[in-house]
């Protein structure tokens, strides 16, 4: 008998659009209980190829032979299967088993043999990743979790490769649900999942971070998430525009991302340099005549500039994350705003004091010139 919980979870996954996860769960269900008509119907609904749909509908119809709607659907699926030639890697290829997750209709293969096949497939996925073919790796992985829904490593990899944040989170949840795991793996999965969920809370921030660090694939995934889930039409349009821009850039460029710490220091140096030049001119181009107050002010501008740049860039540097928390975590936005305010204060006050002093000197000269001309 199938657990109602598993069935509900599978239906939830299907409705949320997590096809791979849903197919894997329904596959488990029909493996345990081949008389579960609902699972066969869902499998027919989720099938990628008409051949798979025909098989699932045949199973469902065998359970309820007099169902007119099922008969009609099967007929349509058969017509569709006949009209569409088999595609590479599909279940209709002669040398591949029919891909109904977890269900093997005829002579079941020995578990050891199946395991080695799956291991080989996982190795194939890693090889694709090594040569930078993410899309191919993802396609292989999806097929792998369908045939072996208990493969934790495959779900974990899927948690990194799925295009949307919600799908990645769902894959990691699935990997965690297969536990208990060794402590290190459990911690790794939990950390990744927690991070993804935080990104889901503030996807704009996440997308911009990925963009800044040059991880355009993930940036596009985050923008895609916004485009699908945002309730504001303007926000959806903006996200789609960002995706288009990223695609255009990716199509034409091969950019190596720059270390965020280097970017932070580089950008923070700008205002400091400007202030230094002003102080030097004010001191009559004599570095020894720079006053202690000016040096303190220079320190203030440096600190303020670092704060302003860091809060503007939201780097993923571990020290920064430790200080104010990960993007989207509770209180992170407020802390960032506070630090930004402090940064502005530290930059503006020295500049203001400097201009007051310069203004007073100018006034003094003005009075002297006016007096001399009388």
């Amino acid at each position: 008998m199938v657990s109602q919980e598993v069935l509900s979870e599978a239906v939830r996954a299907a409705k949320a659009g997590h096809r791979a996860q849903a197919r894997a769960l329904f596959g488990q269900i029909v493996k345990q209980d081949p008389t579960c008509e609902a699972a066969w119907l869902w499998l027919a609904e989720l099938a990628d190829h008409p051949g798979e749909r025909v098989l699932a509908l045949e199973k469902a119809l065998a359970l309820r032979p007099d169902h007119p709607v099922l008969q009609r659907r099967l007929e349509l699926a058969r017509q569709e299967a006949a009209a569409r030639p088999p595609v590479e890697g599909s279940a209709l290829e002669e040398d591949r088993p029919l891909v109904i997750p977890g269900y093997v209709p005829k002579a079941e293969r020995a578990p050891e043999e199946a395991l080695s096949t799956e291991d080989r497939r996982l190795e194939e996925v890693r090889e694709q990743l090594r040569v930078g073919r993410r899309r191919e790796a993802l396609s292989l992985l999806l097929r792998l979790v369908e045939t072996q829904p208990g493969n934790v490593e495959a779900w974990k990899l899927l948690g990194e490769l799925q295009p949307t944040l919600s799908e990645r989170a769902a894959a990691l949840e699935r990997a965690l649900a297969l536990g208990p795991h060794p402590a290190a793996l459990q911690q790794d999965l939990e950390q990744q999942l927690a991070y993804l969920k935080k990104l889901q809370v503030n996807p704009w921030s996440a997308a911009r971070q990925f963009e800044e660090t040059g991880d355009f694939d993930r940036a596009a995934a985050a923008y895609q998430w916004i485009a699908i889930h945002s309730r504001l039409p303007a926000e959806r349009v903006a996200a789609v525009q960002r995706i288009d821009q990223l695609k255009l850039r990716q199509a034409s460029d091969q950019i190596t991302p720059v270390n965020p710490t280097l970017n932070l220091l580089r950008l923070a140096a700008g205002p400091v340099l400007l202030f230094f030049f002003m102080v030097l001119i004010q001191a009559g181009l004599n570095p020894l005549a720079i006053t202690p107050l000016a040096l303190v002010s220079l320190g203030g501008v440096s600190a303020g500039s670092v704060l302003l740049t860091a809060t503007g860039m939201r780097p993923l540097h571990p020290a920064w994350v430790q200080m104010i928390g990960e993007p989207g975590s509770p209180g992170e936005k407020e802390t960032r705003a506070l630090l930004r305010g402090l940064g502005w204060l530290l930059v503006i006050v020295p500049f203001a004091l400097f201009f007051i002093e310069a203004g007073l000197r100018l006034m003094k000269l003005w009075i002297a010139v006016v007096n001399a001309s009388r």
Binding site: G270, M278, I281, L285, A358, L362, L365, V369, S373
Partner: protein, 225 residues
């Protein structure tokens, strides 16, 4: 030889708000000058221009006067020439930096120009005004960021105006080395502050502190900024 336009579009921002603001401020300051000049004939330039003798003696506005001198011009043609340069070279440099960072870079180039000019003429009581130092920095930054850029330029050949697109390298070679370096070597005394131009141009290397993260990554990856 006057640059008129850079036909290439922006990559990051649609509207060069800071470049246009700087142009507007320069125009307004010249208007203010023309109004105040009859009231304060020579004093205006002495007080708000950059006077090397005063700067070295730590008198007057110092850096404040250096700042105000960057926005003052000696007349409409001085302003027009500079503003064409600012528009042509500033727009895409601003695009690569972002508005506020562009403003900081512009000011740094201006201060650097003034600094070198003050060092070179440290005993001179003659005030120096104009945005040329800052704009020379923009020209240098443009050359660094867009070495393949082509500038629509107005040239008169035997009094006939022609509008060729000149590669920025040749433009810089002409504008900077022929029009600035050679007069300095020859010791020209034509009222042009060549040292400010050279100082501003040298400051163009500071552009690396102001580029957007992505533009910087592109630059390091040998991709067009």
């Amino acid at each position: 030889m006057l640059p008129l336009n850079d036909p290439e579009p922006n990559r990051y921002s649609g509207f060069p708000i800071m470049t246009l603001t700087l142009i507007l401020v320069n125009i307004l300051v010249l208007a203010g000058q023309l109004i105040l000049e009859p009231l304060l004939p020579a004093r205006l330039y002495y007080l708000l221009g950059s006077v090397p003798l005063l700067v070295m003696g730590q008198e007057g506005g110092g850096a404040l006067a250096s700042l105000t001198s960057m926005f003052m011009h000696g007349g409409i043609f001085h302003l027009l020439g500079n503003m064409f340069f600012l528009w042509v070279f500033g727009r895409r440099v601003e695009d690569a930096c972002g508005s506020w960072r562009f403003l900081f870079f512009y000011l740094i180039c201006g201060f650097m120009g003034d600094l070198l000019s003050t060092l070179a003429r440290h005993r001179s009581p003659v005030p120096s005004i104009g945005a040329s130092g800052a704009i020379a920095g923009l020209l240098g930054a443009y050359l660094i960021l867009y070495p393949g850029g082509r500038i629509r330029t107005l040239i008169f050949v035997w009094w006939i105006p022609v509008l060729p697109k000149i590669q920025v390298f040749w433009f810089t070679l002409y504008f900077f080395f022929i029009q600035q370096i050679i007069p300095v070597i020859l010791g020209a005394r034509d009222g042009v502050n060549y040292w400010a131009h050279i100082g501003g141009f040298v400051a163009c290397i500071f552009i690396i502190f102001f580029m957007r993260p992505e533009a910087f990554a592109r630059y390091l990856s040998n991709e067009p900024v």
